[in-house]
């Protein structure tokens, strides 16, 4: 590796991020081709994947050495003190190079080798089959069909090859509509609700300007609403908020030219109607700029609805503020809450959740189909469609179902993972925690519905870990076309089979399939239900976590129960045989000694070596890390 000048530095100190006593572990720092490794004097290993490094900072020299602060995308922050400045400088430079790769082929996934053969690898990639998934939903059917319009990525480069559209939408209509939609992302099916025969569709914004119309697009929307035999009205949800356009709006002198038609046909509540109108004004402003939203006058049977989710830039700086506040040593309660408030983070989370709930209600209560879009239809739209599907369909709340959901609404529909996660050294303005927000929304749901999810928090954290790790091919690239060009299925491995192999770690012990009877989740989004997700944003700050994890205990106990059930069966059959033998007078010796004494050790997977998820104690009831020196009193 040409970037590595120093591979090993001794006598390096690792400072505790929140300790005031400047307590430090001393150990040796190793730099490998893929990881930065610190082994302290107790032989405890801290692995940091180069791709996880978000920033490296060299601070001013101190008497004890040269401080090196590394911030990771999984919110780990480590503070080393390297005795000699030269070493520190070498490591700093190496990490700068290693953490920012210029081309995909240099990412870890292309060199990662979990010792599987080609057919195993291929099977891994085939684990999640979206065609199967659409079949499970009930499409194709008499109203919906598979379209081959994008088979060669000719209409839309960022969509998958296989798209489901209303049966009555002809190819010219699709092509026409795609020309009218930003990046060619025309309305397609995202989720079909079999029971209600209603659909969740997604697209990008129309390029309507002030007056432009597109008959094909209007036809396509009509086709979607006609594909719903129960309710001809469909909702068009624009997920963007009003105030994004307000600055533009203020500069317009001729506001009066725009006539606002007050519509009260949907909402009776005065307040909602007002804000609705204001949102409408702003989208109208956007429309004047060449992009915009659908004019209800031109589209028959649509109900237009804005929900206020902010854009990627707002989300990026919101998270930045949140992390700044939480990184403060000796943070006061007031600073924490005012920081939480001013970062706006939980407000954004709530907005996404509210949007998903709106979608769910439209389907469940009004039996109406919904078309969701934002600007390009790959960030906020993905959030709302996937979260909505999760609320509607309990399948997505299982481990496999959640993988399918991510494959469907995020990977296949072209959420730009590589740009949003900063996999390559590219435009920092494209980086945004959109997917993290989705995971956080799911976490909030697991908090409100502790028995509704087959997976646990560790599963969410592990997925989060891997959208940045670049260890597996799933999240590389920005759309399916790009992934095919990168030949990811031949050159890299899929994450999902590894997660499934490790399933035991990710099972929610309280999961109750009977909760599937409560098929549709109706979360309560009163503000006080939203809490700071400490296990995500302080995952690696050991001292902030509860010292005993109920969850781990129950999880282990559940495992143990299964084992005990087997033991009982074993024992019972042996006792029975013995009794029979006693009567027969026949004795088979081997049976006597084959009672399984202990549960078999669980297979540990090698590929997740570098992560310590939820660093709570593995040993059941020890109180590891409970030390007054860890805390500030």
């Amino acid at each position: 590796m040409e970037h590595i000048r120093t591979t090993k530095v001794e006598q390096v100190k690792l400072l505790d991020r929140f300790s005031t006593s400047n307590k430090a572990l001393t150990g040796t720092l190793y730099l490998t081709a893929t990881h930065l490794l610190f082994i302290d004097s107790h032989q405890k290993e801290t692995w940091i994947l180069h791709h996880h490094i978000a920033s490296v900072e060299k601070l001013a020299l101190t008497t004890s050495g040269c401080p090196l602060v590394i911030q990771c995308k999984n919110f780990r922050i480590v503070h080393f003190i390297v005795p000699r400045e030269r070493d520190c400088h070498d490591i700093y430079n190496s990490l700068l190079q290693l953490s920012k790769q210029a081309k995909y082929e240099d990412l870890y996934a292309f060199s990662y080798n979990p010792k599987q053969n080609d057919s195993e690898r291929l099977r891994g990639w085939q684990l999640i089959d979206l065609a199967e998934e659409y079949k499970r939903m009930g499409v194709p059917n008499s109203n919906w069909q598979l379209s081959d319009a994008n088979r060669e990525y000719k209409i839309c480069e960022t969509y998958p090859r296989e798209l489901y559209v209303p049966r009555i939408a002809s190819k010219p209509i699709i092509v026409g509509s795609s020309k009218f939609r930003s990046k060619g992302r025309f309305p397609v099916l995202s989720y079909y609700h079999r029971e209600k025969e209603a659909a969740v569709c997604r697209c990008s914004q129309p390029l309507s300007g002030f007056s432009a119309r597109c008959l094909e697009d209007e036809h396509l929307l009509q086709a979607i609403s006609k594909a719903n035999p129960v309710n001809r009205y469909m909702y068009v949800m624009d997920t963007r908020p009003k105030h994004r356009m307000q600055s533009w709006w203020a500069t317009q002198k001729d506001i009066g030219r725009i006539i606002v038609r007050i519509s009260s046909k949907i909402w009776n509540d005065e307040k909602i109607r007002e804000s609705h109108e204001q949102k409408r004004l702003n989208a109208m402003a956007n429309r004047a700029a060449g992009k915009g939203y659908e004019n209800e006058d031109n589209y028959s049977n649509i109900r237009f609805q804005f929900v206020g989710i902010e854009n990627i830039h707002v989300m990026r700086s919101s998270l930045q503020k949140l992390l700044e506040v939480n990184g403060t040593k000796g943070l006061s309660v007031n600073d924490f809450y005012s920081g939480l408030e001013s970062s706006g983070w939980l407000r954004h989370i709530k907005a996404v959740m509210d949007a998903a709930i709106f979608l769910t209600k439209a389907i469940m209560i009004e039996n109406a189909s919904v078309l969701v879009h934002c600007s390009d239809g790959w960030d906020r739209t993905s959030q709302v469609c996937s979260l909505g599907s999760l609320l509607l369909d309990s399948f997505y709340r299982t481990i496999r179902g959640f993988m399918v959901l991510i494959e469907k609404d995020w990977i296949s529909f072209g959420h730009k993972f590589s740009e949003r996660c900063g996999h390559l050294d590219s435009d920092p303005k494209e980086v945004s925690p959109v997917f993290t927000q989705f995971l956080e929304c799911v976490w909030h749901l697991t908090e409100q519905f502790p028995q509704a999810f087959e997976f646990n928090e560790a599963f969410l954290l592990q997925i989060h870990e891997h959208i940045y790790s670049c260890q597996f091919g799933n999240f590389l690239g920005n759309c399916q076309k790009e992934r095919e060009e990168l030949k990811l299925k031949e050159k890299t491995y899929s994450l999902w089979p590894f997660l499934l192999d490790d399933q035991k770690k990710y099972l929610n012990p309280l999961y109750s399939p009977k909760s599937q009877a409560v098929a549709v989740l109706e979360p309560n989004t009163v503000s006080f239900n939203f809490k700071f997700w400490r296990n995500m944003y302080h995952q690696f700050d050991r001292t902030l976590h509860p010292r005993q994890s109920v969850f781990n205990i129950i999880m282990n106990m559940n495992e143990q129960n299964k084992q005990l059930e087997n033991d009982i069966k074993d024992l019972e059959s042996k006792i029975k045989q013995h009794k029979n033998k006693q009567t027969d007078g026949v004795l088979t010796k081997e049976l006597l000694h084959s009672v399984r004494p202990e549960s078999p050790t669980l297979k540990t997977s090698l590929c997740f070596k570098e992560q310590t998820l939820l660093p709570v104690n593995d040993a059941l009831r020890t109180i590891e890390g409970s030390n007054p020196a860890d805390n500030r009193y």
């Binding site: 408030e341 407000r347 902030l544 129960n561 500030r632």
Partner: protein, 507 residues
């Protein structure tokens, strides 16, 4: 704390006695009311009889599982006892060392201190006359008394009212003597004043004050600032108001939560309690805690420190005893503090959710150490309810004296007698509890502190799903116990069959 309770291990076998110029003797160590006795239980060998009062100093050491106690006597003799098993050693040591303390009945008629119980524990070397003098020097007559004895190292928590130094720096020799009597030779202690320095200084103008370092040279004073009275009451009112308004948007909710300062108070109280516990357990220093009256923040700190330090106080009975000792007997004025809650308009300055804050702090620790407590959240909620309104006499009155006058013992039922019935206990018992003897250090970072939803959001949202999940958790644990019992029975059964088979085979 019953004095006799402190003699935990009256007898230990296989103890080895080392004395200069004598061969080592192995035998049984016994503790009686007055003597430490070591006997080899063989004829013609000497027995050691040592009066407790002859003991001048004790050191203890551990080498592996073997504990060693070195006893230095007032007649200059030094003897060494090797005791197998560390646990015993600790118990023996603590039994001996509590001979430094005695029960005093000086307050029998509630005359010396109206808010103290009739019996208190004080240093042995201080007589009742001195206590009377000290009482005149402490706010409300609350002279320093023993609150907690840390068996592990013999350090203690004392509590009192503020010293009445006034502006001219009054001092009281007996007070100084009393406090110093709690220190071992050459040891230093900490005085934790629960008020900020400014508040403590201002208190001098009203006749109060704090211990001047010059007069208490062996003590280091630390000021913390735990709020009192109406500030806490206002905090509660704001918090409840914020929780009750479901229409708040996110920003408003967070800013209201922040403005209530409730969690700030929680953090402050917990931090002070942790500090106290740290002095005791880690620094091996005794402490004296007081604020102004010594009936509010003082009790929050002394009781929470015990939760952290003393495993027994994390059991149901232990926690009940803690509340009895550190809140009821110690004279927390429940009647005044809990007269009204968050909704009443007529605000009196003595109303204050001091006890609720304490329970909230316990809940915070419980959340962080869910397996270390025998009781669950419901137990704390129940105590909160009864402190404010109860059909039992336990929380009535402001102190023991009032409760005696009201003849509550004759006229009312005790809350504990009801709670301790098996059918009730079941509701309050945590299925996760597994006793441990550890000191538990909670995190006090804002990210680790939570709004106590079981109290503050209790009536504002449905907890159906959470309750069901809790039920499921209990089921899993109980099922586990069942299965284990069943496996054990079957194993035994199989083993019996195997031996029977073996017997059949052998002839």
């Amino acid at each position: 704390m019953e004095f006799a309770e402190l003699i935990r291990t009256p007898r230990v076998d296989n103890v080895v006695l080392h004395r200069p110029f004598y061969p080592a003797v192995e035998g049984t160590l016994c503790l009686t009311g007055h003597h430490l006795i070591l006997s080899s239980r063989q004829d013609n060998t000497e027995e050691l009889w040592l009066l407790h009062s002859n003991i001048d100093a004790i050191d203890k050491r551990f080498v592996g599982p073997l504990g060693t106690i070195i006893i230095k006597c007032k007649d200059f003799r030094i003897i060494q006892l090797d005791i197998p098993g560390m646990e015993e050693c600790l118990n023996i040591a603590s039994s001996i060392e509590t001979s430094e303390w005695r029960l005093s009945y000086v307050n029998k008629e509630f005359a010396v201190c109206p808010s103290y119980p009739p019996i208190v524990i004080v240093p042995k070397s201080i007589d009742d006359e001195a206590l009377r003098k000290v009482a005149t020097f402490r706010h409300g007559g609350r002279f320093p008394v023993l609150s907690y004895y840390h068996k592990k190292n013999g350090m203690v928590i004392m509590r009192s009212g503020q010293p009445l130094t006034g502006t001219n720096g009054r001092r009281c020799k007996e007070d100084e003597k009393l406090i110093n009597a709690t220190l071992r030779a050459g040891k230093r202690g900490y005085i934790i004043d629960t008020r900020s320095l400014t508040v403590a200084q201002q208190a001098r103008a009203k006749g109060g004050g704090f211990e001047q370092e010059a007069h208490y040279p062996q003590w280091r004073r630390i000021h913390k600032s735990i709020e009192r009275y109406h500030i806490l009451q206002e905090s509660l009112i704001k918090l409840v108001e914020a929780c009750n308004d479901q229409t708040h948007n996110m920003d408003r909710w967070l800013s209201k939560l922040e403005a209530s300062n409730w969690l700030t108070h929680i953090k402050e109280i917990l931090t002070t309690a942790c500090l106290a516990a740290q002095c005791i357990d880690r620094e091996g220093a005794s402490i004296l805690i007081h604020g102004t009256e010594g009936t509010d923040s003082t009790l929050q700190v002394t009781s929470l420190a015990q939760i952290i330090l003393e495993p027994r106080s994390r059991t149901i009975r232990g926690f009940e005893a803690l509340i009895e000792r550190e809140w009821l007997q110690a004279g927390h004025p429940f009647q005044q503090r809990c007269a009204q809650s968050a909704y009443c308009n007529s605000k009196q300055k003595w109303e204050s959710p001091v006890f609720l804050l304490f329970l909230d702090c316990v809940w915070q620790i419980l959340r962080q150490f869910p397996c270390s407590f025998e009781f669950n959240e419901n137990f704390l909620i129940m105590l909160f309810e009864h402190a404010y309104a109860s059909q039992f006499g336990t929380f009535l009155g402001n102190n023991e004296s009032e409760r005696c006058k009201l003849k509550l013992q004759q006229k009312t039922m005790s809350l504990w007698s009801w709670v301790n019935r098996p059918s009730e206990l079941r509701k309050f018992t945590s299925p996760l509890f597994e006793a441990n003897n550890l000191v538990i250090w909670p995190s006090v970072a804002p990210q680790s502190l939570h709004l106590w939803e079981g109290i503050f959001l209790r009536w504002n949202r449905s907890s159906k799903y959470l309750d069901e999940a809790y039920e499921e958790m209990v089921n899993i644990i109980e099922y586990n116990k069942e299965l284990q019992a069943k496996v054990n029975i079957l194993r035994r059964q199989l083993a019996e069959l195997e031996t029977e088979d073996g017997m059949q085979e052998s002839p």
